[in-house]
Symmetry: C2
Subunit: 157 residues, 2 copies
DNA sequence: CTTCAAATTGATATGTTATAACATCTTTAA
DNA sequence: TTAAAGATGTTATAACATATCAATTTGAAG
């Protein structure tokens, strides 16, 4: 899913570059830099935070610098936008062209992406019942992740 | 669901006012005006479009005027925000405290809200499998509504 | 190797969405 | 009647995103 599970940062970047090549595109330095920041982040990152990070190396970077890279990464399936937070996360499951279920922790802000084909099928069915044909979907769930639930319950009776 | 089915605009507004009273709140003129605009709109409306509409009656209205009303309406369940479009829709099913599935037509921009308890249960289950407890969810589906699909297929062989 | 076209990046400006902060007015209940 | 809570007025600014056009890089054709 979205979190760098078994692969290292470098391995992820290499795999991403290969994926781009396969698509007839290129993971340029700027795109690679943004993806690298997203992969390294524990949760999601905002465009202007990415910009600030990039400006440390390259002070002339401007908003279009980062938004262009983000547009590219999202189009390539290498990142997702969290619409409800105006934030972005890396996606390591880029070979599959879908946008999964995003579990966003209200407390620690980490994001876990999960996939449920049955759920998606049901959604498409529901839509079809109204004559609606689905092109894309965005499912964002807010709540508390396992870690934060544990921390919360610690101080209690 | 979200569309004013059987009730007239006035009836909807009256029902909304009663709902607010029940909650110990008030549907003030400004809130009523914004809700009225949302109810009358075929699809969703953006905050600054609402503002422009309100300024026709009341030229001194400013962004907080409309954002405050929207915050109130969303909190009361009388409207929903479409995160992926930064837009707002009225919700006539305000007595039920959930955010349903939003079917957003890419072409005519109308919005249909539907409810599927089974789908929601599945989502909560999926999340629970990762130790995640759900507080809120937002499901937005893009595609073509029945009408627009028909219009599209007309000119074809 | 050169040259052209396409893709990418640089740079500036501006558009769009949303909130902070503080003043004022209104309502309500003690 | 008056203090507290709620709602609105007003100004300013923060936060998010894109348009536009110039410059540069890349890669393929000649």
């Amino acid at each position: 899913m979205n979190t760098p599970t078994s692969l290292s940062l470098e391995e992820n970047l290499t795999a991403a570059a290969q994926w781009c090549t396969k698509r007839g595109e290129k993971l340029t330095d700027q795109r690679r830099e943004v993806l690298s920041l997203l992969l390294a982040a524990p949760g999601s990152m905002k465009a202007y935070d990415l910009l600030a990070a990039i400006q440390k190396q390259k002070p002339t970077a401007a908003p279009p610098t980062v938004y262009r890279a983000l547009d590219f990464l999202v189009a390539a399936g290498l990142a997702h936008k969290l619409e409800s937070k105006n934030a972005f996360v890396a996606c390591c499951d880029f070979e599959h062209p879908h946008h999964g279920v995003m579990l966003i922790c209200d407390q620690c802000l980490t994001v876990k992406e999960l996939s449920d084909e049955t759920l998606e099928a049901r959604l498409i069915e529901d839509a079809a019942a109204y004559g609606f044909s689905v092109a894309a979907q965005d499912i964002e769930v807010k709540g508390l992740c396992a870690n934060c639930r544990n921390s919360e319950s610690e101080g209690k009776p």
